[in-house]
Amino acid sequence: MNAIKSPKDQKKVLDKITFDLTRPIVKRDELTRFWFFLLIMFVIVGLWGWIIQIDRGLGVTGMRDYVSWGMYIANFVFFVAVSLIGFLISSALHLLKISWGKAVSRVAEQIAIAAVALAGVIIVMDMGRPDRFLNIFFHGRFASPIIWDVSVVVTYLTISVLLFYLPLIPDLAMLRDKEDLGIPKWKRRLYKTLSLGWKGNAAQFKTLYHAMRVLMLLIIPVGLSIHTVTSWLFASTLRSGWDTTILGPYFVAGAFVAGASAVIILMYVYRLRYGLKEYFKDYHFDQMGKLLVFVCLVYLYFNINEFLVPGYKMKTAEGIHLIELFKGGYSSMFWLVQVVGLVLPIVLIVFKFFRKPLPLTIISAVVLVAAWFKRYLIVIPTLEHPFLPVQNVPEHFQHYAPTSIEITITLFAFVAALAIISILAKLFPVIAIWELAEEKGIDINQLTEEPKIN
């Protein structure tokens, strides 16, 4: 980075960065109100659906004796998957000293917090008796992957929040003192509380860096565990399609695909909506595109392993499951997910043109939708083919189709995740100002502590 020499220039640049990056916080126009109105409406409709489900029981869903995990669990796996990007970008890239990751790390953390929080919520919503959730703490079995999963989701959520919060402290301290940016008073009061009397002295920075480093190291095993343990919920059964040893890494690889595409979409939205072209540069999209194509290739490799090897052997039960996916009722979904959602993006993103912001965002949207359907394909077809024959049951027990209540609650989950992201974006800068300044060679302390410099 070219260091900017004169303090005057430094101040100018810093002011511009600060001004640009606080626009999301200040901006209050019709569109913002309409967006929050939409979010609140959908959340209310979703909660109303949930009240119906609690009132009448899980019979209002499409889940029956055989398919007892439906769209909710697919959502759960999807959210856990998306949340994993927080660990990849804000920790792994940081520790590998890949500097472009800094610009997107707060975006990634926003997604991680929203997704992992909703992963927890959707599990409670999947329960016919949500009050029995407490039984996990009173009567949980340490040998059960469900206990491990609950532990790791809570731990990951905590770490993600801390990892979002810690790099925020210097920014909050700076914004707390600035009156000329038009930030609402209550937000500045909130910054004052949250910035913990930050003065930006060397000792504080040292402690901050130390704490961040501990978290970044800690989130690696926890991040890997969260999705590996989620995969064990499936892989520790004998069911065909789930009974495979590679399910852990397979899930982790798939998670990076879903998360990277979510980050790209959110970057593009911020860039467009808040005019942050100079911060989420074409360069960042190019790099994110390369990251996406890399994780897609890893995921493709696992997919080939996951389907070619059992497909070669076609063991009885496994064969029924695979034929259902390859040419049965789920074949169109399966091939769309594999070809349009994985192979085609890889082929396209390899070309530089498709790593430009708009094409990349469109491809990412396709990848993200395909990632959701991929989770649906992991959960449901396997349950429709138990080892014992399905007999003497009503027709609708044999196949699963989500009901309108399930779709409503699923919409709620997505809207609630968007709401969390939106609130975080309206409250805090979407890029760490001080890290950006540091990158540009600006001594932020000098400028904030002694603002009257010439």
Partner: protein
């Protein structure tokens, strides 16, 4: 071309042969003359009836109602003269082998049971006295006790005669069953003597619960109306010493049979992660304190 004509000709010939044959199904004499090894008793006829209703009725129809399916040839009614023109051996052979639309039952019904179906058909033979008569059910009463020392069940059976007086029921089978969650399983049967008493020795092969106890139900044939007798907690069996698979400490066990390494690993990881989180929280507190200096 010549081949094709020949083929069609042969096919037609075979068909006409089959068709003419369908009018008459002749069974070789040595097979037709086989005697029915299954005695002509009410029990066998009843069993035969049960099998008939399950396997044959769908085509042959209800006995005496001539409501068979309109197949070619029409399956004869069990009461018809056409049916009873067959000897018992011939009936058995036809059930076993089948032909045309009549399926074979060699693989789906045991030999004994096929003979019992013949028993049932013979109930409608004019030469036999029908056993299946719609007689009114007889009221009966059962008393019983368990001799745990000798592992015997003793039963006293009585029936109500025309005047409403209970009398000893002689020469009648009573059934000894074990009570199960969804009904009962027959262990064996004993026949009452002239005093209406029957004694049944529980075989040594019967296994009870961990203490060797079972719940015994004593029942009678269908033509009696009787309250089945329940003798609970009869300690007459070998105790069940089967190993409980859940006793072993396995990876997926309950908390009291948890493998120690698993608990240690879980706690070490969880506690370790949370200690690190608390350490970070402590650092945040430290940042605040440093701000005040």
């Amino acid at each position: 071309m010549r081949n094709l004509i020949r083929y069609i000709f042969i096919t037609l010939l075979v068909f006409s042969f089959l068709n003419s044959n369908s009018q008459e199904w002749v069974v070789a004499d040595d097979i037709a003359s086989i005697q029915n090894p299954s005695p002509y008793t009410l029990q066998n006829v009843n069993k035969g009836k049960e099998l008939y209703l399950k396997n044959c009725k769908s085509c042959h129809g209800d006995a005496g109602k001539n409501n068979a399916l309109p197949l070619v040839p029409i399956p004869p009614d069990v009461t018809s003269a056409q049916m009873h023109a067959n000897s018992e051996g011939a009936l058995f052979h036809k059930i076993t082998a089948g032909r045309g639309t009549m399926p074979q039952f060699e693989t789906s019904i045991s030999e004994d049971d096929r003979w019992r179906i013949v028993n049932y058909i013979m109930n409608f033979n004019p030469a036999n006295e029908p056993l299946l008569v719609d007689a009114p059910k007889i009221n009966a009463k059962l008393l019983g006790s368990v001799n745990e020392a000798e592992k015997k069940v003793e039963v006293l059976a009585e029936f109500q005669d025309k005047d409403g007086i209970y009398k000893k029921l002689a020469n009648t089978p009573v059934f000894i069953n074990s009570k199960k969650t969804f009904g009962k399983i027959k262990i064996g049967q004993a026949t009452t003597d002239e005093n209406g008493r029957a004694v049944y020795q529980i075989p040594e092969t019967v296994v009870g619960d961990a203490e060797g106890k079972i719940d015994i139900i004593i029942s009678m044939e269908d033509n009696y109306t009787v309250n089945e007798l329940l003798l609970e907690n009869a300690k007459v069996c070998a105790p069940n010493v089967a190993e409980n698979l859940f006793d072993e400490a396995v990876l997926w066990g309950t908390n009291d049979r948890l493998q120690p390494w698993l608990l240690v690993s879980y706690l070490a990881i969880a506690v370790g992660a949370w200690l690190a989180i608390f350490y970070v929280v402590f650092q945040i507190v430290k940042i605040k304190r440093l701000g005040k200096e």
